[in-house]
Amino acid sequence: MATASDERAFVEFERVQKSYDGETLVVKDLNLSMPKGEFLTMLGPSGSGKTTCLMMLAGFETATHGDIRLDGNPINNIPPHKRGIGMVFQNYALFPHMTVAENLSFPLEVRKMGKSDREAKVKRALDMVQMGAFGGRRPAQLSGGQQQRIALARALVFEPELVLMDEPLGALDKQLRETLQFEITRLAHDLGITVVYVTHDQTEALTMSDRVAVFEAGRIQQLAPPDELYEAPINSFVAQFIGENNTLEGVITAIQGDTCTVKLDSGDIIDAKPVNVSSVGERTKVSIRPERVEFNRERLHADAHTLKAEVLEFIYMGDIFRTRLRVAGTDDFIVKTRNAPDQRRLTPGEQIEIGWLPEDCRALDA
């Protein structure tokens, strides 16, 4: 994993803006710096500008303003075919009129490589994705997963240092997706290539990446390793977008260093950790993960604030229990508990008391 900021940046976006129509900015002031060998995922809802960023990096869109640098050199004016960037597309984009081997051979041919070299490289690339026996087939004769492996091999066969992937697993079923997620990460780390991966699937982003850039409205909202992103979202968009999340709204009544007190709109008082709130009286959305909610009083601090809750629904999900509660005026407050032998199963209608550690409850912008 390479996240140290002192390493020389391999891919760099500096104050990049992009507009298609001259009226609205699709990408607003993008700054991003990636070291060599990093697996970075651009995550965001559709229309958030992540694909546009990828296309600018690949050279299919030009930046309206700002610089994009690759290995220190500005590439704004270099046409796509000279950038030497591998790319994997959502629909695979395998050339249907060529066989698998011809597809893989194509980037080597346009680089004027000799026939024997080409064949050796194609074979190695096919073996790398465990598709050695499929060289003579046409793409249409392959399944979706097989096609994506070939597309991956084709993007890697000419040994690019940077590979871009635009939602490559979006069209596959869940199980295949998980297998390929693992394979892509393994290949990327084994080959030491730098990967920019675009997806709108947060699980994919969390499991595969060294760092994740969460996009929204043309800006990076947070750029952080997956654990930090999940556990310490810096604003309410990220908190909402990554993982499941309970939100309660209220007003800050006191701040003491690392903790603050929030008076919810229902009148209840809770403890929280101030993240991007600064003053007393400010409105806030407090965010708490469902698995960090505690209803076993003994596990909480003695002086912790608690809330009264009514169990509305209990859902058995195998590895976990998912319980819906009515808390402080909202009735979609979720609690997740592990299915352990000593775990208590709540029943609908039960009145309980819930609480949490103040550091698990983050007071974010309203």
Partner: protein, 551 residues
């Protein structure tokens, strides 16, 4: 159900296949009923005419229908010898021609044979007019011998009877006369050909029967009240001079008187001399050779003509260079159609590419511009080209004004192949653009991007990745344009002059002006075969699976 040895059966014990087909029968029937109107329409208005056309191109029974006896008599005649046809042949010709002239069929045959040997048309027409004069002396002698012969009742009494037991003695006469006149002839009800007369005077009975049937069926008169044709008189004279008259039926006495009188004139009379007196051409071997050559009901003559050969009595021969036209026209049609197809690809491909890659709004605008010509009458578009292309037309004026060509050397853009190619390329362009566009629309832009990301230049990406995928569109467009242009008619007719017309213009000429439908059908058949052959070749080379009208 899973028994591996026997056939799989359904729950009720029937074989599963039978059950399935029974279950599907209703749906199949419904599907068939849905296509039935179109099927019937296509069969009646398309398939049937095509087969009729194919048949017409080899059918040539006008000679054998109009001169049935002559054709048979001519069988033994040898064209290569010097001898004229036999007297029997002229005799057969006389009776065939007389019947045909009465039915006004001889001129049609003359026109038909005139395609092959010039002059036959007028020969037939003149001879048709002169037939009444054949054997004048004989007929006069018969009239002098008995005044009764001028009375139509004499002939009716001699040949007709209402005695049912006489039976149908007129069958052979009816078959012959009906064939020549191309109508179903018959005697009036309850009138029969008399037995005794038929036995003693076979020729005259036959001719009278033909006359009586024709009078009854076509003229709608009563035969007994009409004077018989000269042919009947001549036939009677033949019968009376053939030998002893073994006849004692009605009018026997009159007949014997006539028999005595007619012997002299008949000794001087031959059909051969009579025809030669009409026109010397009846002694020409070329005329008889032509009749003999086209005496079969089926002919390869039209097809030979269609490839600049002619069927002569000596066999198939090349026509003289100055009348050879069809091979030239076929070649011109083919190469001009290919030129037009190629121009359409050159002009249409970029437009289709632009339409497929522009945003929908702009693409729709271009689409409307492409389709605009479709909404204008073909005639108007072609006439507009006439205005644009002529010597004093807009294009020439503009070129002169710019100074690209001198006023004295204006370009000849119309009434030649150039004009046809320009106008037809314009008219057929949408047929190229539309399939190209729909195929290109189905090629995702990510292919080009993928190729570029893999290191291909714009040109390589286009040529190696995009173009091969658009080939099915080119194929579909080319087939459409080529097949349409190979049979195009209106535009070459208007802007083509003489150097720019197609084979279809010649077909149209033979259909509507020269009325040589057989030749038109043969030309059309060759065109059809050429198209099918090209289609087959295309399938072998490119593969018809590679033709797509949509992505």
């Amino acid at each position: 159900m899973t028994d591996a040895t026997g056939p799989i059966v359904a729950a009720d014990g029937r074989p599963l296949k039978a059950s399935l087909s029974r279950a599907l029968r209703r749906e199949k029937l419904r599907a068939f009923l849905l296509i039935l109107p179109l099927l019937a329409f296509v069969v009646i208005s398309f398939i049937a005419p095509i087969f009729d056309m194919l048949f017409r191109s080899v059918q040539d029974d006008i000679t054998s229908r109009t001169l049935p006896q002559t054709v048979v008599a001519l069988n033994d005649w040898d064209y290569t010898g010097d001898a004229r046809p036999s007297e029997q042949t002229y005799e057969a010709l006389y009776f065939d021609m007389f019947m045909a002239a009465e039915a006004k069929k001889h001129t049609a045959l003359g026109s038909r044979l005139n395609y092959e040997t010039t002059g036959i048309s007028s020969l037939f027409r003149q001879t048709g007019r002169g037939l009444d004069d054949v054997g004048e002396d004989v007929i006069e002698a018969m009239e002098d011998a008995s005044a009764a012969l001028d009375d139509s009742a004499f002939w009716a009494g001699l040949f007709l009877t209402d005695d049912r037991s006489a039976g149908d003695k007129a069958a052979s006469a009816r078959a012959w006369a009906s064939t020549v006149s191309d109508q179903a002839l018959s005697l009036p009800a309850d009138v029969y050909l008399a037995n005794a007369a038929e036995a003693a005077l076979p020729n005259a009975a036959r001719q009278y029967a033909a006359f009586a049937m024709f009078t009854h069926t076509v003229d709608e008169d009563v035969p007994a009240e009409e004077d018989p044709w000269e042919a009947v008189w001549i036939a009677l004279a033949q019968d009376l001079t053939a030998g002893e008259l073994a006849y004692d039926g009605p009018e026997a006495a009159e007949l014997r008187a006539v028999q005595a009188a007619v012997a002299g004139p008949m000794a001087d009379f031959t059909f051969t001399d009579a025809f030669l007196a009409q026109d010397d051409d009846w002694g020409e071997a070329s005329v008889w050779g032509t009749i003999q050559t086209f005496s079969s009901p089926y002919t390869a003559g039209y097809f030979l003509t269609a490839i600049d050969l002619e069927l002569t009595p000596d066999g198939a021969q090349a026509v003289e260079d100055d009348v050879a036209i069809y091979i030239t026209l076929f070649w011109r049609t083919l190469w001009m159609s290919m030129t037009i197809t190629f121009s359409c690809i050159l002009l249409g491909y970029p437009i289709a590419w632009l339409m497929a890659n522009l945003p929908d709004r702009s693409a729709n605008l271009i689409m409307i511009l492409v389709l605009l010509p479709f909404w204008t009458s073909l005639l108007v578009r072609t006439s507009a080209w006439k205005v644009l292309l002529q010597q004093q037309g807009v294009i020439n004026d503009t070129l002169v004004w710019i100074g690209l060509v001198g006023d004295g050397s204006r370009l000849a853009l119309i009434n030649n192949a150039t004009g046809t190619i320009i106008a037809m390329t314009h008219i057929l362009l949408p047929f190229m653009i539309l399939p190209l566009y729909s195929v290109m629309k189905g090629i995702p832009p990510s292919y080009l991007r993928a190729a570029k990301s893999l290191g291909a230049t714009n040109w390589t990406a286009f040529w190696r990745v995009y173009f091969p995928q658009s080939v099915p569109g080119i194929g579909a467009g080319s087939i459409l344009v080529f097949i349409l242009s190979i049979g195009y008619y209106i535009t070459p007719e208007i802007v083509g002059g003489t150097k720019g017309v197609f084979i279809s213009n010649r077909i149209a000429y033979h259909i509507s002006s020269s009325l040589n439908w057989g030749l038109a059908a043969a030309l059309g058949t060759i065109l059809l075969v050429v198209v099918l052959a090209l289609y087959w070749a295309y399938d072998r080379i490119v593969g018809i699976d590679n033709v797509k009208l949509g992505g």
